[in-house]
Amino acid sequence: MTTNGDVLIKVDDVHKVYNKKLHALNGVSNEIRKGEVVVIIGPSGSGKSTFLRSLNLLEVPTTGHIYFEGTDITSKKTDIDKHRQKMGMVFQHFNLFPHKTILDNITLAPMKLLGKSKEEAQKRGMELLRLVGLEEKANGYPSQLSGGQKQRIAIVRSLAMDPDVMLFDEPTSALDPEMVGEVLELMKKLAHDGMTMVVVTHEMGFAKEVGTRCIFMDEGQIKEEGAPEEFFDHPTEPRLQDFLSKVL
């Protein structure tokens, strides 16, 4: 492993069962360390999204524990909203707020949750917009943006909360091919700036180039994990070999 930072998220034997019989997660344990870029791949229905979404408790594990920065967030006593402020999440379908301007999308949470003043939040918002080259869209609405622009704004909206980790669930899967690059570029930039990231994706190029660790999920379990080089070049798990032969 390329990093040996502190453990940021610890997943301890998590199971997720839907409707009493569908085992979406079947005993998953893992540790995500500061500065890591963890890429999760696997076939459809293997539990990638369920795993990612349980990290910020959008899906509540049926059993097992998840610790974020040392706190058991699966405990009923934990104020999950406070911890979610430190965990950015980016969705396949962007989920920008259509009734708010681009700038308001970015400043809403910092103002309401961090108590930032409007000027402060907007100043930071404009900085972030400049980072992604979309400052002239500040007063426009999400519906006026292309898919790639929407996703970059969604990333920026999360960054405005200064998260300690960013979770991405297939951030480029809903994009036209020509827009995938601009989003991956931004993610790469984040990774280089040291952001801890967990990314579910089908972009194997990104996984190889930017990932510090790759996880292969199948049937609700982590079947193989490792640094990208050995993971892609010398997979041991037959299911992973099979999967890679299909997608590469």
Partner: protein, 229 residues
Amino acid sequence: MANFQDKFILNFITDNRWHYIWNGLLTTLQITFFAVLLGITLGFLIAIVRSTHDKTGRMKIGNVICNIYITVIRGTPVVVQLMIIYYVVFSSVDINKVIVAILAFGMNSGAYVAEIFRSGIMSVDQGQFEAGRSLGFNYRQTMIHIITPQAFKNVLPALGNEFIVLLKETSVSGYIAMQDLTKGGDIIRSRTFDAFMPLIAVAIIYLVMVMIFSKLVSMLERRLRNSDH
């Protein structure tokens, strides 16, 4: 033509009969205005309880109570509800009839508004909810800042329609001997034995109010739409 003029004078000018129409109109507007406020408030609260139950499974008892309320209100005629509130609930209390009417029509409207709001809330994409929660907003904050503004916009046409229905439904206020607009016209009819003129006048006034209101709603709709599409 002279005949028309005579009838007009008889129905509206003699004995200041237009006062029946004018005072009736004021009463109708008063009832409608406050019933709309009550209906929105009640409807909003019920919708929040119901959709919170739908989304999270919480508030089971509240949901049951709201369900019963909606079923009863929507399953019985508003004029019967009005009479029950006046002659049964407040039978032994000396209470202003306007307040009775506001309560009856407001409570009635609340049941319909609740279902309109609820469908609006449920029609907002689940991803909006998840985006709010993942930023760290709690359930209530997500509702306030993200879901209800979008829900309100989605249901504005249906809401406008509901208030037009409410305005017209207040015309049964005469059943508890209130002198609203409709009753005003009817009183003139009983004095002058001319049905045509006072009733047509009343009809035109309702129509004009509805048209003005529809116009306002569509202007508001356009403004909201322009702001994000």
